[in-house]
């Protein structure tokens, strides 16, 4: 069932993809027999065929994921988006400390373990990556190393 739904969604996306390929993409002038639109057109046709076959014969019934797990996955997604959102404004250290602490707590560490781990990873990670390896990370309120 999920299989069919997913294939259906992919089919919709593929049809949009094909619509763009068949109507919008055009080169004003070209010397080659195949323009920029031909390859996406071929891909679209092949995808529609294989998606129809997949919808005809699905083989995965359900995600087999329980409700608490779904909630956990949703929280992880929110945490990740928050981490991405805060990455530049707060800088690597603070964003990482916050993210790691909550993430680790979510995965059944105690608050103390989580906080210690978060601070260690944030500070140590920043020092190693920017100081030792010379990578570019957002420094936030702290002066750049």
């Amino acid at each position: 069932m999920v299989d069919r739904v997913f294939a259906g969604i992919l089919l919709l996306v593929t049809i949009c993809y094909g619509y763009i390929a068949f109507t919008i993409i055009k080169a004003p002038f070209q010397y080659d027999p195949l323009g920029p639109e031909s390859w996406p057109q071929i891909l679209c046709i092949l995808s529609v065929i294989s998606l129809l076959i997949l919808m005809w014969k699905p083989d995965v019934e359900s995600f087999d994921t329980k409700r608490p797990t779904w909630i956990k996955l949703a929280i992880v997604t929110v945490l990740l988006f928050a981490y991405a959102e805060l990455y530049e404004p707060l800088g690597f250290i603070i964003a990482t400390v916050i993210f790691t602490t909550f993430m680790s707590r979510l995965l059944q560490a105690t608050w103390l373990q989580a906080a210690v781990f978060g601070v260690t990873l944030g500070v140590l990670g920043y020092l190693i990556c920017t100081g030792l390896l010379g990578l570019n990370l957002p420094s936030g309120p702290f002066p750049k190393l």
């Binding site: 080659d32 195949l34 920029p36 076959i53 994921t65 981490y83 680790s104 570019n136 990370l137």
Partner: protein, 505 residues
Amino acid sequence: MQEVLSGLSTGFGVALLPFNIMLVLIGCFAGTLIGALPGIGPINGVAILLPIAYSLGLPAESALILLAGIYYGAEYGGRISSILLNVPGDAGAVMTTLDGNPMARRGEAGRALSLSAIASFIGGTFAVILMSLFGPSLAKIAVTFSPSDYVALMVFAFASLASLVGKNAWKTFMGALIGLMLATMGIDANTGIPRYTFDVPDLLAGIDFLVVVIGLFGMAELFYLVEQQVSGKLKALPIDNSFVRMSDLAKTKWTILRCSIIGFFIGILPGTGASVASAVAYGFEKRFAGSDAGEFGKGDIRGLAAPEAANNAAAGGAMVPMLTLGIPGSGTTAILLGALLLFNVQPGPMMFMQRPEIAWGLIASMYVGNIALLVINLPMVGIFSRMLTVPQHYLTPIIAVLAFIGVYSIVSNPFDLYLIIILGIFGWILRKLDFPLAPVILGFVLGGLLEDNLRRALSISAGDWSILFNNWKSIILYVCALAVIVIPALLNRWFKVKKPTLDVK
């Protein structure tokens, strides 16, 4: 032969530089660690560490030596979690659990670990030797390939992918198509027309290869680990003092040799890697043992040596098409191929001539790496086994932090951070629905190449499609493509060979 020797001397000149030796050691050590971590396999390890290796500013050959070290190191370390935990790090290590774990449970963990280390070493070294012998001649043939031959070659690659990887061939095919479609985003190189950019400036250059790799293999893995975490605690079996005996080696020497050969040649097939190789090798040895096979699955040393020799040989074999044809032989080598492109090195037949320090340097480093792995693994296996019990609440956040560091330090664009999360969710869904992920990355890496060659072939023929079938090289390749689809189907019917049950990455 002359050429091989001079190539090897160039290669060892590069690989034996102290800095590069250090990178081999770091790569092998990190790889073994990653392989030993339950649930994280070679492909995730290489995916998560690739951007960091890239932004270190190493020269191309050093970066590749490091990444390749992580790759075969992880292939090597995968056996530790298979044997002690009964949890394979990736699909290539599934078969190792069948006999490795029963041995550990009856108190022979040390013997199982040391025997499998030696089998892995022989498989790996065997593959590098074959690679140095065959690589250059294969490259010489490949130099003469025309654009239409390349199209045929890639059709062959996708055919072997669809027939050998995953449970449902249509899902594998669809995975490859998703990768190919993702690759069409961005400005078309031939005409300068933007495709599927939706006027978002961040998409003009297409989706960055690193973003796709980290999203599909790093972030998706993270979601998968979070999901699995609820399902109880893992307990590692203790390592005892038992050690491999000379009689074990005498008993398994032909098994190891046969499986090395099987593994190497399956690894060469474009698209198929360690997972298929170890499954086929295990099945073959079991059948080969005949009436003597009663112990297989209960802790037979042959059943342990066979998949280990094969998956390490396959890791080497998978490098061959990547280096000589520019077509990756597995998901992980697809990532290595993308890494070469990042360094502006065009992988393929010309690499042996134009950039011998990279092609041969990599091959030579694998000789060094295999020895290093054996030396690291025999005495230090206790350290790696301690990694098995690293709690998930420490491991999982580290993956996210490493992925963010990797993406941000290269492009410094917060937009890509959102993109990896979205791709991660997408990858997780694909994985849950039994779509193998390796074809997606293969499609993404090969998409541009396939389209370019198709368009070039048709401009040579002024639009006549028959050019794709009018020379013997392409016809042979199409025949191979057909064979790789038909033969396994027939073999399946004859022998009822079981494919690996884990999804093939």
